[in-house]
């Protein structure tokens, strides 16, 4: 077996053409390749493959020098880590493994901190000098991922030699595919594991961390059947090291294991949460059907890339070997995986939660959103118009993403008839769309912005301006958006924008004679923003106005109490504590119902 069998017959011609390409500046080679015609065009596929490989190789110091060998020159530098050696505050205990990325050691802290055992990863510094620097910058974000199904990143830093290290939770477990095989898990339990993975990924996405390299080797299952995801965000961390040059970014992107790579990953595009959803699809496919989505004749990397980019995977039910499995997959699960594996990211589930919800629906015997013929799918116009992208968005998404459930959802709880239900669904969808779009813009285009104190607020506000046009003919949804934006922005520290939007919201609410409780909530939100901006005087004016405008009824009582409480706080801030008893009496529905002056 020769590695170059495929090229052998064409090599003399290829070699000559490569000489020609190599005599050109690197920037002109792509155009040159595209211009090949006639007999020469026959070589373009092979040429592209070779040239891509060459570029990829440039991403590392490929073959530039003989790697240092232990036993030949180990004395020259810090050398290979060995047992008992100290790396930062850790003492190495035993090597757990090694590979392209570097080495992993079982290690423990020895600097007086609790003697926690960790898996200490030491990436190859050779992959770029900026890695260490970025590592320090990003570790807090990665360390903030606290979830039962995510292996924690405890710490990251550099040792005395400047070698970066990552201290991760030490997980004892089997790769998920092995676990499923070893235990011959029935379908239901396999789906249970997939849901655990979804849960972990959703948690990370809510914190704007994308995994980018979801595959069985990175998903371990403990003896207790608990999933632990490894290496969250680290692929990106390492990849970003190359971000300076497009070619290099692509090179490193390509270095990811191809089997679970998304089409956009193959194309070297910026990756968002949708890419993880695709990889989750491949992983689930593998776990459920027992085989990967793409069966290749030759098994070459190029063939796989081609398949990922252009070939629709066969239905998992057609791929499974066991008759029972085929039966279990047919229908719902076929449809769910097909959506997760859409080539176009916008056609996939919009969130991991949506994917998980559909799996849960399937488990409960409810119709899944992935199946176009399902009742749920047909129920909402909005859903139909925007297909899965919006339709399948789960309620839980917002709660996770933004951290709070909203009154909006509560209004949906007591819905009686189908029409009201549909309206609520449309509103819900619009709100989610805004957030999802803002988030995906942020994640793919401007991740750094998110880390600024009010970065998300600014992004949300910018997107919101665009949405005003889009929702001109949908006043109900527009109102909901105004509400969400004005109540959410303060969470990102942006009170000024919140007020601008909030005042528009309030004016529009009053104009459309919206229900009183909602009006009170709008007042309250604006007043709170004023208070935060040290304008308690303005807050107090607003709150008084609210109490006078809206009478106390069973429907508004809760909101009135909240408004009065806020007013009490504002009065205190203004050194007018004397007014507080009266305010509280009013809010409790006692007294004459007025505040006086």
């Amino acid at each position: 077996m020769n590695a170059f069998n495929e090229l052998a017959s064409d090599w003399p011609g290829l070699s000559v053409l490569l000489d020609e390409a190599l005599s050109l500046p690197a920037s002109e080679r792509a155009a040159w390749l595209a211009s090949l015609s006639g007999e020469r065009a026959r070589f373009s596929t092979s040429l592209r493959r070779l040239m891509d490989a060459g570029e990829r190789a440039d991403g590392g110091a490929f073959l530039q020098e003989l790697p240092a060998l232990r036993g030949l020159d180990e004395m020259a530098g810090p050398g290979e880590p060995e047992a008992d050696a100290k790396v930062g505050p850790y003492r190495l205990i035993s090597e757990l493994g090694r590979g392209g990325m570097g080495t992993v050691w079982l290690a423990e802290r020895v600097d007086g901190q609790p003697r926690r055992r960790v898996a200490l990863k030491m990436p190859r510094v050779a992959w770029g000098g900026f890695l260490a620097e970025r590592l320090l910058r990003e570790r807090d974000i990665l360390a903030s991922l606290e979830h039962p199904h995510i292996a924690r990143l405890y710490d990251a830093g550099m040792d005395a030699f400047g070698r970066p290290y990552l201290a991760m939770e030490f997980v004892e477990g089997l790769p998920i595919d092995q676990y499923v095989r070893t235990h011959a898990l029935p379908m239901r339990e396999r789906l249970g594991l997939v849901l655990q993975v979804c849960d972990a990924v959703a948690h990370a996405h809510a914190r704007l961390v994308v995994h980018r390299d979801l595959k069985p080797g990175n998903v371990l299952v403990t003896a207790e059947g608990q999933v632990r995801l490894l290496d969250f965000g680290i692929a990106k961390l390492i990849e970003d090291d190359f971000a300076a040059e497009t070619a290099l970014t692509r090179a490193s992107g390509r270095a990811l294991s191809l089997d679970h790579a998304s089409p956009e990953q193959i194309r070297g595009e910026p990756l968002g949460t949708a890419s993880d959803i695709y990889s989750l699809g491949v992983l689930s496919y593998e776990l459920l059907a027992g085989t990967r989505p793409y069966r290749l004749k030759r098994g070459s990397a190029a063939e796989l890339e081609e398949a990922i980019a252009h070939v629709d995977p066969p239905r998992p039910s057609d791929q499974a070997e066991v008759a029972l499995t085929r039966k279990q997959l047919r229908g719902d699960l076929d449809a769910i995986l097909a959506i997760a594996l859409k080539k176009n990211p916008a056609q996939r589930y919009a969130t991991v939660e949506a994917l998980a919800d559909d799996i849960r629906r399937h488990l409960r015997g409810l119709p899944v959103l992935a199946r176009p013929e399902s009742q749920l799918y047909r129920a909402g116009r909005f859903v139909a118009r925007h297909r899965i992208w919006v339709g399948a968005l789960a309620t839980a998404f917002l709660a996770l993403t933004v951290g709070l459930g909203m009154a909006l959802w509560q209004t949906g709880v007591a819905l009686h008839n189908e029409q009201v239900a549909r309206q609520a669904a449309e509103r819900e969808a619009a709100v989610k769309l805004l957030l999802v779009e803002t988030l995906s813009v942020a994640v793919t285009a401007d991740p750094a912005k998110l880390r600024e104190p009010d970065g998300f607020g600014q992004l949300l506000y910018a997107k919101f301006e665009e949405f005003e046009q889009r929702f001109k003919d949908q006043p109900g949804q527009w109102l909901d958006l105004l509400e969400v934006v004005s109540t959410r922005l303060p969470a990102y520290g942006d009170y000024e924008c919140s007020l601008i939007v909030g005042q528009r919201y309030l004016a529009l609410l009053k104009k459309t004679k919206a229900d009183d409780a909602r009006v009170l909530r709008a007042y309250l939100s604006n007043a709170r923003a004023f208070s935060k901006l040290q304008r308690s005087d303005k807050a107090a004016v607003l709150l008084r106005e609210a109490l006078e405008l809206v009478p106390d009824t069973p429907a508004t009582h809760g909101e009135r109490v909240a408004v009065a409480t806020e007013l009490g706080l504002a009065s205190t801030a203004l050194d007018r504590q004397g007014e507080v008893p009266k305010i509280l009496a009013v809010s409790a529905g006692r007294g004459d119902g007025t505040l006086g002056k």
């Binding site: 020769n2 590695a3 170059f4 090229l7 052998a8 090599w11 070699s15 490569l18 000489d19 190599l22 005599s23 493959r49 070779l50 040239m51 490989a53 060459g54 990829r56 190789a57 590392g60 490929f62 073959l63 020098e65 003989l66 790697p67 240092a68 060998l69 232990r70 036993g71 030949l72 020159d73 004395m75 020259a76 035993s94 090597e95 757990l96 493994g97 090694r98 590979g99 392209g100 990325m101 080495t103 992993v104 990863k121 190859r124 790769p175 980018r212 390299d213 080797g217 990175n218 490894l230 680290i234 692929a235 390492i238 990849e239 490193s252 270095a255 990811l256 294991s257 070459s300 990397a301």
Partner: protein, 184 residues
């Protein structure tokens, strides 16, 4: 050691057995030097393959009438011996680690299986080079001289009687091919 000069001359004329003869002569000497250096166990930043070959050359040059041209040829032919030494060391290193009870776990966090451990990389390049020798012997020779022999473009050009520009192109072509082979 006088036969070095003769062997080089015959090898230059295309005598395959002379090339093998040079290998047989140089390999044990290189090995001995490598061992000696390790035994000394000194902190020596220069302890690299180039320096090994240099020392080896000096050994042979003492007893022979080697011209400056011969010196280059010597390095070129030594590259093959050096390759063997390095490949042996890589195999030994890998065997030692695998026998040492190391657990095999997946740890690629994305940067890929493209570049393996030093030992694995060397063994992979070595294997791919065997294939490359069949596809395009000159490319393989360039890689051997540069990667294992530590020679630069100019030296290789002089040795092979081609321009250094051609050497650089050969090198790029070989890197593309090897990148494909090592990834597959």
């Amino acid at each position: 050691m006088g036969d070095v000069t003769l062997l080089i001359a015959r090898a230059r004329e295309g005598d395959r057995s002379a090339v093998d003869g040079l290998f047989e002569l140089v390999y044990p000497e290189l090995r001995r030097i490598a061992h000696a250096r390790l035994a000394r166990n000194v902190r020596d930043a220069l302890m690299d393959t180039t320096s090994l070959v240099n020392e080896c050359y000096l050994k042979f040059a003492q007893g022979a009438r080697l011209t400056p041209g011969d010196r280059l040829h010597f390095f070129a032919y030594s590259a093959a011996a050096m390759r063997s030494i390095v490949v042996d060391a890589a195999r030994a290193g890998l065997a030692e680690r695998r026998g040492g009870g190391a657990v095999h776990v997946t740890l690629d966090t994305g940067i890929g299986e493209q570049v393996a451990s030093p030992e694995e990389e060397i063994l992979d390049v070595h294997a791919a080079l065997v294939d490359l020798e069949k596809l395009d012997p000159r490319l393989a020779r360039v890689v051997e001289m540069r990667y294992f022999g530590g020679m630069n473009d100019l030296e290789i050009a002089q040795e092979l009687g081609i321009t250094d520009r051609t050497v650089r192109r050969d090198w790029e072509k070989a890197r593309m091919l090897l990148a494909i082979a090592l990834k597959a």
